[in-house]
């Protein structure tokens, strides 16, 4: 047993999980930004914006994340020569964040839209009736209530994002699933112990997010 624990230290498993958390944080931030813009586009009165938002969501949401990751690294970086950092490792990390952000933005957008559906249409009508233009009405009246109604689906998206951050291995980022693969490859005697360790690692990270979003969604619910 102590030999196995030494192995975990030797391969710095804790740091590997830390990389997943960093990917999740920055990817989530990017997804929240893009997703909010997409959601505003999809509820806007302009047909062209609605169309563009819907196209993005349907295109990205229905593409496997691995395909997006590989596309970013092999096509955007290797072929088109776009770099996101001068540092080799950071470059891969940033591409992984970009892939995670771009992909999950589609889900964030749909979560926010489900939140918008919890806001009675009269709220937007009243905002327009006092003379607020569309963007101001969205920013001051509709979106704040929509976010509060979308805490649970946003939390689910965040959980999916944390688990999907393992796909960053496809963009050559040294994170937990990559470390797991290396461990199994070089220490096949410990196969099931390694697997259980990484499974528990993710469960330990995911459960608090679930609990926090449930608590927050109750606490923030708008009383009508």
């Amino acid at each position: 047993m102590s030999e196995f624990l030494d192995l975990l230290r030797q391969y710095d498993v804790a740091h590997a999980f830390w990389v997943n958390l960093q990917l999740t944080f920055w990817g989530g931030l990017l997804a929240l930004g893009i997703g909010t813009v997409l959601a505003v586009m999809r509820i806007s009165p302009l047909t062209s914006l609605r169309w563009a938002g819907a196209t993005y969501v349907n295109l990205v949401r229905n593409t496997p994340l691995t395909v997006i990751m590989v596309f970013l690294v092999l096509a955007v970086w290797t072929q088109l020569g776009v770099t996101l950092s001068g540092d080799f490792t950071s470059n891969f990390f940033n591409f992984a964040v970009a892939g995670l952000g771009v992909y999950h933005a589609a889900f964030v957008c749909e979560s926010i839209r489900s939140g918008v559906n919890t806001v009675p249409v009269g709220q937007a009508e009243a905002a327009r009736a006092i003379g607020l233009p569309f963007l101001a009405a969205a920013r001051i009246i509709v979106l704040p209530q929509a976010f509060r109604g979308a805490v649970a689906p946003l939390g689910n998206t965040l959980i999916a994002l944390l688990k999907n951050s393992t796909v960053a291995a496809a963009a050559s980022v040294a994170e937990s699933s990559g470390t797991m693969k290396t461990l199994i490859e070089f220490h096949p005697d410990y196969r099931w112990q390694v697997f259980v360790t990484f499974a528990i690692g993710f469960v330990v990270l995911v459960i608090p997010i679930g609990l926090a979003t449930t608590w927050l969604s109750r606490r923030l619910a708008v009383t009508r």
Partner: protein, 249 residues
């Protein structure tokens, strides 16, 4: 209200369809400055749509609507400016659920009229006092009764210093014991000379405060007269039928 007062809201040959349903048929209507116009009629007669079309919460298919001499703009900043001048009170109050009563009333003046916070709050408190809910200023709408919420909604609309106030069945969603407090606020407003367009089933209000009653049925204006004439001697069969049904009990 003087008969010679200038027109404030004018609808000319307005038509609107909801799919196959012709909800507004060749509506021609002029509301003069200071006039209190009550629109009554059976459900589905188009009276709410008429009200909502004036600040373009509903679009129209043909015809023109002007407010204070200017056609209602189709969209954008110009439309937002027009809406700021047209107060609207909804059947379901529609107070901003995540904002306090005071914030509900100050939001328009601050964000649209760019008033200073202090001035907006002072004006808001005066308005809330006028409608009798000043002590609720720090509460959220859900903590108020329906009647209180609707009075806050009236204060919110008045805070924009509108040229005309529109009421879309303002008492229909209220418990019976709360109807009077809202009607009292509206009567007071009418006495102050506010131009009002009121869609309502409250015949008492129409009798007490209206300068003119417009009766709508099937998307058309069937009859219009001063309240006394309308309630005692309606001319059209549709109006007679409607009044016999609502005034019997």
């Amino acid at each position: 209200m003087e008969a010679s007062a200038p027109a404030l809201v004018e609808l000319t040959d307005v038509n609107k369809h909801f799919g196959d349903l012709h909800v507004l048929r060749d509506i021609n209507l002029t509301v003069r400055r200071g006039e209190v116009l009550v629109v009554i009629g059976p459900s589905g007669s188009g009276k709410s749509t008429l009200c909502r079309a004036i600040n373009r919460l509903e679009t129209i298919d043909s015809g023109t609507i002007t407010v204070d001499g200017k056609p209602v703009p189709a969209e954008g900043k110009a439309l937002a400016h027009l809406r700021a001048d047209v107060g609207m009170v909804f059947q379901s109050f529609n107070l901003f659920a995540h904002k306090t009563v005071l914030d509900n009333v100050t939001l328009g003046p601050r964000k649209v009229r760019k008033a200073a916070k202090k001035d907006a709050e002072e004006a808001a408190r005066t308005l809330l006092r006028r409608v009798g809910v000043e002590d609720q200023a720090r509460k959220l709408p859900a903590q108020l009764s329906g009647g209180q919420q609707q009075r806050v909604a009236i204060a919110r609309a008045l805070a924009m210093q509108p040229k005309v106030m529109m009421f879309d069945e303002p008492t229909s969603a209220l418990d019976p014991e709360m109807v009077q407090e809202v009607l009292d606020a509206m009567v007071a407003l009418a006495k102050e000379g506010m131009t009002m367009i009121v869609v309502t089933h409250e015949m008492g209000f129409a009798r007490k405060a209206a300068d003119r009653v417009v009766f709508m049925a099937d998307g058309q204006i069937v009859e219009q007269a001063d309240p006394d004439t309308f309630f005692t001697a309606p001319t059209s069969a549709r109006a007679k039928d409607f009044l016999s049904k609502i005034l019997v009990h």
